[in-house]
Amino acid sequence: MNLAVFAVRRVARLVLSLIAVSIIAFGLLQLAPGSFADISNLAAEESSTVTAEMQQRYGDEVPVWQQYLGFMKGALTWDMGPSYKYTGQNVEDIIATSFPVSATLAVVAVIIALCIAIPVGVFSALRQNTPWDYGSMFAVTIWHSLPPYLVGTFLMLLLSGTWHVLPSRGWSGPENMIMPVIALALGPAAVMTRYVRSSVLETLREEYVTAAFAKGGARRLVIRRYVLRNSLIPLVTVAGPVLANLMTGTVFIEWIFGIPGLGQYFTDAAASRDMPLLMGTTLFFAVILMVTNLVVDLLYGFLDPRIRATAGAR
């Protein structure tokens, strides 16, 4: 079984899952008080323009399944119609302008997380059972159990509320990014630090490492060339959970720091029952999550020949 067949199967499963997610999300929103095409919570003059466009799009009294198909057709052709709340803007435009903001936050957060996780994880493993190891693992436990929004809250309390060195909310300059990315990075950093530590510990016990030391290899060299190289590759596997973690994180972080990202619009859409926007952002989140998981799976299969060999068995 080769990688290509594995890839085709995974893509097929991805498409099926996406269809399931869209049906569930659409079905749930149908059950919500104020259904998909209901815009009674809008002001009169706004609602008349939206109503006209929605009628043109979905017609009057269209059965639910046709509304669903209509929306999905729109989603596939990247034309999801007007938002109820942000009148004059189409859902796809909102996604197109807000997603880069969220993506920037997430990417910077991942880089910070890696910069924390790799050195701390490696040092903890090399100095296993020393105060340094216990101390950093204790800190990791703390970061791991506090959600990003709480870390963000504490940062805000300290830096905006007490020392007044950073603006608490807004999105106008680089100073607005500092607290959000730190808050986002600490959770993933905790997960990855633990992972790096145990991975390095495991590699240190491998026979080829013992052999390298026995040959008289210098400690630094052996660690760099044999231990690090072999223990950091599996880090790719945590990318999936980390991404899900980050995606959830951005929803809250954007909300508390007032950042106009995708998560902010999702929350806003849910609160104001802006159904097209809510459907659009939900689907977009799901696609991002699933595609990344797929890429991670394929990448890992590519990096690890053992998985390539057994891919067919799964």
Binding site: R197, S198, F266
Partner: protein, 311 residues
């Protein structure tokens, strides 16, 4: 390895004692499993302290109306935005002059109610479906697999937010939303445990003696799966509390004026530069609750960890 991780050789679980009558072995094993776990748990001081703190907070939440100095929506217009230590308001007041200590105490109530409620509901569904999927296979198993596939594709929080949009913002609706978003993993765990336990001799013996499937599942399999489930629950409750506070923070949690930690944090963030006191208390309280649950959960996990190894 720390002091608390070490396991006496006597406590190490051996193969099931074959001299014991098979029919009672399952129950006896489940019981001794708890005694061993408690002995180990007691030695973990951090976990023990966390248990005490949580127990105290739970009692405070339960008797909230008796000990809260004010009602949670009782305004004091003379003392709005008062600092900590103001006469009559130990922790200060918010912008309506509502007593922060009282609101904090009532918020704990919401947190624990949703945390325990959602986890209990999720656990009940998970046990029934997980046991059936593991023991019987067939339709329950297929259902579980299909749901798992979809839920993995669905970011949990997005799902919870959608559920709240559908169900509304009552306490029951929030509990239900979080429970529905979180039962799948627990069901998978129950199923995996069931599959392992079914290989054991005492299950085989019970089956040989003609015990009906339900009896075997409930009397022999379930009690022995309690350890891992308890560990999962001890991490699931803080996750539910985090979810509840998160939803409230987004303005999608329990309907105000019922106070909740997330709602108090949301209020506080708006005034963080001018009046950080409103934000400090709910944030610290939430952190204390979550950390105590983490250390408690770590303690329970280590206590039930039969291999005794820890990375």
């Amino acid at each position: 390895m720390t002091e608390t991780d070490r396991i006496d050789p006597a406590e190490r679980p051996g193969p099931p004692d074959s001299s014991e009558p098979a029919a009672t072995a399952g129950a006896a094993q489940a019981q001794s499993q708890f005694r061993r776990a408690w002995t180990r748990f007691r030695r973990n001081k951090l976990a023990l302290a966390s248990l005490v703190i949580l127990a105290a907070l739970i009692v405070v939440a339960m008797i909230a109306p008796l000990i809260a100095p004010y009602g949670f929506e009782e305004p004091d217009y003379e003392n709005t935005l008062a600092g900590p230590g103001t006469a009559g308001h130990l922790l200060g007041t918010d912008l309506l002059g509502r007593d922060l200590l009282s609101r904090l105490i009532y918020s704990l109530r919401t947190s624990f109610l949703v945390g325990f409620g959602a986890e209990l509901a999720a656990l009940l569904v998970a046990i029934v479906i997980g046991l059936m999927a593991g023991y019987r296979g067939g339709r329950a198993e297929q259902l579980l697999m299909a749901v798992t596939d979809v839920m993995f594709a669905f970011p949990t929080y997005l799902f919870a937010v959608l559920m709240v949009a559908v169900l509304g913002r009552s306490v029951g609706a929030v509990i239900l939303a979080i429970a529905i978003a979180s039962w799948v993993n627990m069901a998978r765990l129950t199923r995996a445990q069931t599959l392992t336990l079914m290989q054991r001799d005492f299950v085989e013996a019970a089956r040989a003696m003609g015990a009906p499937g339900v009896t075997i599942a409930v009397r022999y399999v379930l009690p022995n799966a309690v350890g891992p489930l308890l560990v999962a629950v001890s991490f699931g409750i803080p996750a539910a509390i985090t979810a509840e506070a998160g939803l409230a923070l987004l303005g999608l949690g329990v309907q105000p004026p019922t106070p909740s930690l997330g709602g108090m944090i949301q209020d506080g963030i708006s005034y963080v530069t001018s009046y950080p006191n409103m934000l400090v208390w709910p944030a610290v309280m939430l952190a204390v609750v979550l950390l105590a649950f983490t250390w408690l959960g770590d303690g329970i996990r280590d206590a039930f960890d039969t291999t005794g190894t820890r990375r």
